[in-house]
């Protein structure tokens, strides 16, 4: 029988308590617990204990782009970041649009052992937006897919989107839309506005995102299905989601850590590490996103962890790939932008980074309360830590972080996956 005692942690930021884990399950929570004599002790005074984080939006790149990330390296990065479950996006090579590919990813996740991997299935064959993939087969497979997304591409055909929304009702699935009207964003390189006008980079208007979100919340309402909006990035998108929720429609949304912190002013450096889809927006958008995450209009934080090999960023802006790694810095950025600013408490962080994403993905065994009887998927954070981000130390195979050298607060000291420590004192176990 394996036992671990986490001593004196602030559970969800509340009073300091002890938490006893026995055989992968939370056995007891409280003061002066009995039966702890033979337990391994983790001294956690001053630390925050959270339910294991859940990411709805991760690119693990395997199969196909193992030069940037594998399921193994990606799940290691996830564990270091405090995640116990990630949703692996479907834009691999080959695309995860069949039961075979999602089962492969699911199996690789099982073998990694660092973090649970829940594959996301493609909505359409080859992410081409033309023909529905076998959504039912992916759901019925061992991978048990419930989240479907063509992420990286928008399901822009209104009829295909409508059918997908309707079809997945049969197994309580959800369509996670990458909202980007393709015609309005042909050749787009950065947010369209004051900075793009000066830099002469083709603009990516906010309306390209907002018009798709507006359409899709109306479609979801019309067919009585649920829709999830990926990486919402503009103040206008927030307004549309807020309106849709006020109608009682089944709409959820996520925001990335980088959209909570960074703005398009950074593009003035022409450094492609800031090139990302959706693009970095303005200060006003950043503030609206923080407020929306705080008031629940935006349901959750999702990393959109997008690893790229060095050569795909070590070039001119126009030639560079879009995306940033995010698993290992997500919680720090959320602490910096939401907690240290007073917008969200730690219980709120637990909700936005664990409870809600698990609920949206209908993920079992994750996003559970820190209570006796629950699986011991837990994250222990040292919120007092301060230090510069050093990509050389990343567990991810890629280094394309926009935070290199930036001082960020907080560090995950321990991550527990069903009671087993995957991270100890900030290092992979």
């Amino acid at each position: 029988m394996s036992k671990t005692l986490i001593r004196g942690a602030k559970v969800l930021g509340g009073e300091a308590q002890d938490v006893l884990i026995t055989d992968g399950v939370i056995a007891a929570v409280g003061d002066e617990l009995a039966g702890t004599e033979d337990a391994a002790v983790v001294e956690a005074a001053g630390r925050i204990l959270l339910p294991g984080l859940v990411d709805l939006h991760t690119h693990l790149r395997e199969p196909g782009r193992e030069d940037s990330e594998t399921v193994l390296t990606g799940t290691k990065a996830a564990a270091v970041g405090g995640f116990t479950a990630v949703h692996a996006m479907a834009n691999t090579f080959p695309v995860a649009d069949t039961a075979g590919v999602v089962e492969q990813v699911w199996r690789l996740g099982k073998e990694s052992g660092y973090c649970d991997v829940q594959p996301v299935g493609a909505v359409t064959v080859g992410l081409e937006g033309k023909k529905l993939a076998e959504l039912g087969a992916m759901h019925d497979s061992a991978a048990g897919v419930r989240v479907f997304s063509d992420d990286g591409k928008c399901v822009d055909d209104a009829v295909i989107m409508r059918r997908a929304l309707e079809y997945v009702k049969a197994f309580d699935g959800v369509i996670a839309q990458h909202a980007q009207e393709p015609r309005l964003t042909e050749g787009a390189q950065m947010n369209e506005g004051i900075v793009s006008a000066e830099l002469g980079l083709a603009g990516w208007p906010a309306v390209a995102e907002e018009s798709i979100i507006a359409r899709d919340v109306l479609l979801a309402a019309h067919v009585g299905s649920r829709v999830h909006i990926c990486h919402l990035s503009t103040a206008g998108s927030v307004e549309i989601v807020r309106w849709a929720k006020s109608k009682g429609w089944n709409v959820t949304a996520e925001v990335t850590p980088h959209h909570l912190l960074l703005t398009d002013e950074l593009v003035r450096s022409y450094n492609p590490v800031y090139k990302v889809n959706p693009p970095l927006r303005t200060e006003a958008d950043v503030l609206a996103l923080r407020e929306a995450l705080a008031d629940g209009t935006i349901d959750c934080v999702a990393t959109d962890h997008a690893p790229h090999p060095h050569e795909d960023k070590d070039c001119e802006w126009g030639a560079a790939a879009m995306g940033m790694v995010g698993l290992e810095t997500a919680l720090s950025v959320v602490q910096h932008t939401m907690v240290d600013t007073g917008l969200l408490d730690w219980a709120g962080v637990a909700d936005r980074m664990s409870f809600r994403p698990a609920e949206i993905g209908r993920l079992k065994g994750h996003g559970r309360p820190v209570s006796p009887g629950e699986p011991a998927n837990l994250t222990l954070l040292d919120p007092a830590y301060r230090g510069p981000v050093d990509p050389a130390g990343f567990a991810s195979r890629s280094r394309n972080t926009p935070y290199e050298g930036r001082e960020l607060p907080g560090r995950v000291s321990h991550t527990f996956l069903r009671g087993r420590a995957t991270v100890v004192d900030g290092k992979l176990a």
Binding site: A197, G200, G318
Partner: protein, 342 residues
């Protein structure tokens, strides 16, 4: 150390006037029987052109050669670049060959900035046009041409002059550089275009925007017509070529309503019949050909100031060279964005 020319926005008024004054000195060389100065002897200037632009390339080539520099022309077409070599590897190759200056034309906005701020090369970088971003030497030669026609010349800026720039502002690197430079020199700039060809965000530029060419012609000291690519029509920026020409083209009637002293400018190549009629293009008020000649003088001045060190540009002139300062010209060289954005 200031050693690059990436954006016209990096130039102060004094930087810009120094370049224009130096270009005047350089222009005098062109009138001599032997059009060559020894200033950059032993220095290597690479023309790195990822886009075809024969005009700009030969202008830089002539400028560097008149300063006795060794010139290497590197065209992306037919080179390893067309086989997928990266900008970085190309830059490292040029660095290994000992390039003192790289004059770069690239289809991607920001490529020269990237080159200048990377550790790929150690020499000076001169932006010869990047994407839809900037083309600073074009703006300098435009300002030089305006100064010759609209002011008393050396030492002057363009204070109070009204400059109108007409055409595809959205995709124009010439317009962006000119807005920066001309306003730095004190001019008042008005952009004229159909609303579809004005960038979102233009409201923060230090200039006026008008959709009505006729309303601004009568108060313009110079009218610069930009090339409008016919392909824009297919992307619905305007309905037809004829409608564009009617509303935004410069013909003889419109030129007749300009003030008598006002000039017509064009960076070339011209679309005759589109943004400018043959009557206007061939009139004595059109400075298009003169701009080409001035381009060589400006590029000589830029290369000299970036690379020339402390020696006077022109040693045999009767006037003291404005490029020469007692403690060397270094402190007055054009500044670059490199330092300012760190």
């Amino acid at each position: 150390m200031k050693r690059h020319l990436i954006s016209a926005a990096d130039l102060t008024r004094d930087d810009a006037v120094l370049i224009l004054d130096t270009a005047e000195e350089m222009a005098r060389v062109a009138d001599r029987p032997i059009k060559k100065l020894p200033t950059l002897r032993g220095r290597t200037v690479v023309n790195l052109f990822f886009e075809d632009s024969t005009r700009t390339r030969i202008s830089f080539e002539a400028a560097a050669k008149r300063l006795s520099a060794d010139v290497i022309n590197f065209s992306a077409k037919g080179s390893s670049v067309s086989k997928g070599e990266s900008l970085k590897d190309t830059a490292l190759t040029l660095e290994a060959m000992g390039a003192d200056a790289v004059v770069i034309r690239h289809g991607d906005s920001g490529a020269p900035h990237r080159l200048a701020t990377s550790d790929w090369i150690g020499g000076s970088v001169v932006n010869a046009g990047d994407g839809t971003h900037e083309h600073p030497t074009q703006a300098l030669l435009d300002a030089f041409t305006m100064r010759r026609h609209l002011t008393d010349g050396a030492g002057q800026d363009l204070s109070g002059r009204h400059i109108t720039i007409v055409g595809d502002i959205l995709h124009s690197r010439v317009a962006r550089s000119n807005v920066h430079l001309l306003t730095t020199l004190g001019a008042e700039v008005t952009l004229v275009a159909p609303p579809t060809l004005v960038p979102v965000g233009v409201e923060r530029w230090p200039c006026e925007v008008s959709y009505d060419l006729d309303a601004v012609l009568t108060k313009s000291d110079a009218v610069m017509m930009l090339r409008v690519q016919r392909e824009r029509m297919n992307a619905a920026f305007f309905p037809t070529e004829r409608e564009y020409a009617r509303r935004y083209g410069l013909d003889g009637d419109r030129m007749g309503r300009m003030p008598d002293h006002a000039i017509v400018m064009h960076p070339g190549p011209m679309n005759r019949g589109m943004e400018i009629t043959a009557q206007v293009a061939d009139s004595p008020r059109c400075t298009a050909v003169e701009q080409v000649a001035n381009g060589v003088s400006i590029r000589m001045a830029v290369l000299y100031l970036l690379l020339g060190g402390n020696e006077p540009a022109v040693t045999t002139t009767a006037h003291p060279s404005p490029a020469t300062t007692p403690d060397g010209g270094a402190a007055r060289r054009p500044s670059s964005r490199t330092e300012e954005t760190k």
